[in-house]
Assembly symmetry: C2
Amino acid sequence: MTKPDLDGVPGLEPEQLETYFALMEAVSVLQHHVEQQVRADGDLSTVQFQLLARLAGTGGRLTMTELADGVVYSRSGLTYQAGLLEKAGLVTRGPSPDDDRSTLVTITEAGVDRVKRILPGHVQVARRLLFEPLTEEDIRELGDMMARVRDHMRAQPPRSAAPRKRRA
Amino acid sequence: MTKPDLDGVPGLEPEQLETYFALMEAVSVLQHHVEQQVRADGDLSTVQFQLLARLAGTGGRLTMTELADGVVYSRSGLTYQAGLLEKAGLVTRGPSPDDDRSTLVTITEAGVDRVKRILPGHVQVARRLLFEPLTEEDIRELGDMMARVRDHMRAQPPRSAAPRKRRA
DNA sequence: TATTGTTATACTCTATAACTATA
DNA sequence: TATAGTTATAGAGTATAACAATA
């Protein structure tokens, strides 16, 4: 092994590849800092914060399946996380009046407070790490692109994997 | 709990916040698909693939510390992953001639083959999920922005955390 | 039969601290 | 003293499969 040769891989457009790697590295570092901030300011993992924030941003109560959407990729994983959040007094779980199979997860006042406690530092991290080297127009363009990408991903049919929960 | 009120959180500029959330959701979904592809095509975790790809892209051999940079955030975590890669025959570890404290990690032919086996599908996932809804100019701009962000992050001094390994 | 959610279990991964060896 | 790396260990998280209950 003296010099691995990675050329000859079909279908690589250098510009896309560089963009992809830069994006993934930048976001990976960002995620790491965010993880630390959420833990330090709110004693939660990022996943827990996302679930809580999602709940807070959607009216306060969702079924387990709705709550999982896009954040957690297995049912049992959500049950585990919801159990932790409930034990911490940040959400409650109760029966749904609409569907007796469903569980309604409701954010508590303490849960909302926790999100509020975390958010400012959260935004500060994003601003310092992500937005600082970008112009206002960059940010607009980035937001526009990412909204398109996100919607495109949401619309993607599951490929070979078993169909997962979809939003109603 | 009827309707959590998240307003009144200081320092939030709605445009930045939306951009941030769109970015994080899009990348999170992308990471999940990438994880599945790397596992399916190459029987590796994303971290293992990143380590291997980094090694392949940097001339084939790096010290443990150099290899860790930006991918793994603790020394022991890298030792663990390097141990797995070595057991799988994808890298070898040996003493460094320059510094007897260092360990040189060298990618094997099998390691390079593995990266080559994974890359095409990898790029395909990125193209299908990330690049499809973007124009060529979008991609150029995104790449430009992310390169700036990445470099900015690399230049950031560690805040309150203990200083980590830095590239030489 | 399909769907919602939980449980049990096994596995992967990560981080902290203690340790060895070299600079 | 500081740095490179390993080891032991403990904890968090995830996924799979089996299960119960309802649609």
